[in-house]
Assembly symmetry: D2
Homo-oligomer: 288 residues x 4
């Protein structure tokens, strides 16, 4: 199910809006005898920006990705577009960063084992050794980088080298408790997915469950977002919530929140891996 | 906001799938210098049916509806399509059928007074006199048809005449407790919207809240659907739910359910009036 | 259904926790041949505070409220308790404060007309004349107090006089756009219910829907809370949420949020009027 | 956190309602210097049945369970009560029955490894060998009973023997695809927890996701219930739902439903293991 389909393509594109964009893009596909399977289009009425995701196949057979890319490039250049083109089912190479909590990593590894995501989990990075056994169980290389106040810069350099060597496309922060430097973040724009254990923008920063408990909210949440330079301020991909009551202790909030974190991060990763997310300034367009 | 925009169009179309449909439709718009504002497309992978909703405008000015329809008809005929074309904001003429419960009617009248729906509520039909005051308050003509076991056939004939005279496009059954005859239903295919006070297909038929109470469910629901010959079997437009517990009495279920009914029916009506629903056999495609 | 039941009582009480409280309270009822219909008890494990709501009846007949109060007072004094005792179904006298938005007022008036709340809406106060017709329709006196930067103090004095004269027990701020002074708030502790159109503590202050739109959240909310001196910081009674997407404009957020505001405020009012809420510092205990 | 607390007790009791029950029960605790931590009480207004859960501790020290049971028995006999008394944190011995789907088993094993449930998973029973590796990973004995049309009766006898030998208190059917005989079910009344992959009573029986897909529902659900003789008719413990749309294929429904099944079954098991469920005829009272 997750295999790369060489006759199936996905185009994800954004550019300034103007008449004719859908016609030109769908015409490009039709000229090559392609059949559109799914098309989502959105124009931001404020920014006048055009966003589109098109999935199509060529019933007549396989095309090399590069050939279609080369043919499409002049159009995209003319539009002034940001775009990617992928074979459907092509697997994004993923690095998962974790600390000590196992629930998000466990969830991603298990789901991936069911074939849910078109990804390849190439490696796991951690500042703790705790989860190496879990990684081993799923046969994923685990890189343990002890972090001290003094070595953060060096560790990041080594991590970046590791990511480059392994041609990592997307990084998933599965409750990774270290803050990435702006330099690191800038190298993976809209390609680092974080899970924050609150309903952002409520309870930014540390200990959000404690903050929620002390505020006495009746609903808690979790938020998955792309990481930007500004902590917990990146474009939101997905959020979900669960009700709590006065009976719930702080431990209950943490337990209930764990379920949210797992599901919200998994959903964000699935959307990302299926090329369903475009960034629109500080927001996302999600073609769900 | 609700005014008819003579330069803005909405096309809602379904037909057997084949390559080139999006290209031809978007090309048709582009040739006339139209700019697509919103496009949703879906291909049912089982039935191989193509569904599309396109909203566009002609920046250069107004076009008569008939002119665009005439130009588009040959394409639609070639596709073997079911389709409608509307000026954006054109108001569907609505008849609301009610019995004694006021909550759904109240909700629709109030929402409509805020300009939420592109509809014109032309008249209200009832088998009871109870809600005439509410109709009067909003200045809507109220037609009271007492129904007896013996006169159902005649009453329907009179109702149909009334609907025809008033050029009614869509009928909303806002907790109308009479069952429409197959003949009546056949005259308004996918144009009669009902609200059923259960999470269909659970609790078909009468007294669904009592059924839910006796079964001890932990969640109740409401369902809005198009009416077909088969009671409570029509294509589902929208559903929603609310949690209940052992503490809730039957009266609590009815009270909680009322809120669901109001919101679900209003949402279905908004989707319908904005031409966002296509029927796919026994199901709907909802471009939300 | 909403009539005062002279043989039915509700006790709402909080005090420092200690052994024997349930036994003493239930014993007090049993000694008088009362039958407990519903009992909810909670001990805050952090503050070691005891919270209880007991509903019971005296099958043998009616008791004057004062008689039971007098008998219970020595026990409550011994516990160091905050408490209220009410006949079940006794109606709280309510003043609703509004500005220009009608949806929350409309909702409360309509629901109250169905007998949903054990309240009497004694009067409506507004700083605008807009909603007087709506008030009139339901036969509720409407007091219009034009507010200018210079007369706020005087207006509040007149409002307080009006409330006192009318023996108002609880004030509902149904999208009232003025900020009450600390002096006003202090006179109605835990007796002023506000609806804030965001998922607090996110988007405190003005224009929360705009803030939410600009942040690109995927879920919006509404929060009902008791008013305290600190703006939007009072104990939260109830919250609810609805999903939004990149397709939703600011107007869509406002429209969707209106439904939340109506339902959340109505639920908070119902809980309050049924004596189901106890304040625990900056939080609430809600016996739902 | 999950250890048995010898000074902490939970009483779960139901009996015909009558005045004085709370007073007598709380008096029993108070006489022994116990302190009630949590008390939930409910009277079914239809059946006039009294339900209570009380959690308390004896600050002065440990009491043997049998001693309190012996002291309480005369009261319970007088009430005509069904009741259980447990040390808080005492672990129920569990057998999990599975077939080929791993998601529910995986979820329970992982959650249990975090200490979430006060249970001991004594063994896993399956009619397939597939999940033995997963069992092994968590160190739980796995019993594989191949089932053929001819040997169902014998297999059940062996299973019952195994359960008896291992003093199993509760059986969890984690997507077990065999139907238990009435004789088997009768031996574990209200002690067999099933997960059904639909929003009961919709889509009883086989292939509920296919049924839901074909009906075109907009929401799917999962239901956990106690098993009775009548298939899918037992008292419902917990339900939850997730939205689906016309874009979701049958595979998408199955994938989304898996998440529901995992969470709903886990919640039901936690409620059961914490002695929060009483059966009221064909329904449950859940003190959540």
């Amino acid at each position: 199910m997750q295999g790369e389909n060489l006759s199936d393509f996905i185009l994800l594109l954004s550019c300034p809006d103007r008449p004719g964009l859908v016609s030109i893009i769908s015409g490009f596909i039709y000229e090559r005898s392609g059949n559109i399977l799914d098309l989502d289009e959105h124009v931001d009425p404020v920014g006048k920006t055009f966003f589109i995701r098109v999935a199509w196949n060529f019933p007549s057979g396989a095309f090399p990705l590069a050939e279609i890319e080369d043919a499409f490039r002049p159009l995209a250049d003319d539009f002034g577009a940001s775009w990617i083109l992928r074979h459907s089912g092509s697997r994004t190479r993923i690095a998962v960063f974790v600390s000590r909590y196992d629930h998000c990593l466990q969830e991603i590894l298990w789901r991936n084992s069911t074939g849910e995501f078109p990804i390849e989990i190439a490696l796991i990075v951690s500042n703790h050794a705790d989860l190496s056994l879990l990684a081993e169980r799923y046969g994923i290389p685990y890189y343990f980088f002890p972090v001290t106040p003094g070595n953060k810069h060096d560790v990041e350099l080594k991590q970046l080298e590791l990511l480059a060597e392994n041609r990592i496309g997307t990084i998933v922060l599965a409750r990774y408790m270290q803050i990435l430097s702006p330099r690191f973040v800038a190298l993976y724009p809209s390609r680092i997915i974080n899970i924050h254990h609150s309903f952002l923008p409520a309870f930014v920063g540390g200990n959000p469950y404690r903050q929620a408990y002390e505020r006495g909210v009746k609903i808690i949440g979790a938020t998955s977002h792309y990481v930007t330079e500004d902590l917990d301020q990146g474009p939101i991909i997905e959020q979900d919530i669960i009700r709590v009551s006065h009976k719930d202790t702080l431990d209950d909030l943490i337990r209930k929140g764990r379920d949210l974190e797992r599901l919200v991060l998994a959903k964000a990763l699935r959307l990302h891996a299926n090329h369903r997310i475009l960034v629109n300034g500080k927001k996302t367009v999600v073609f769900d």
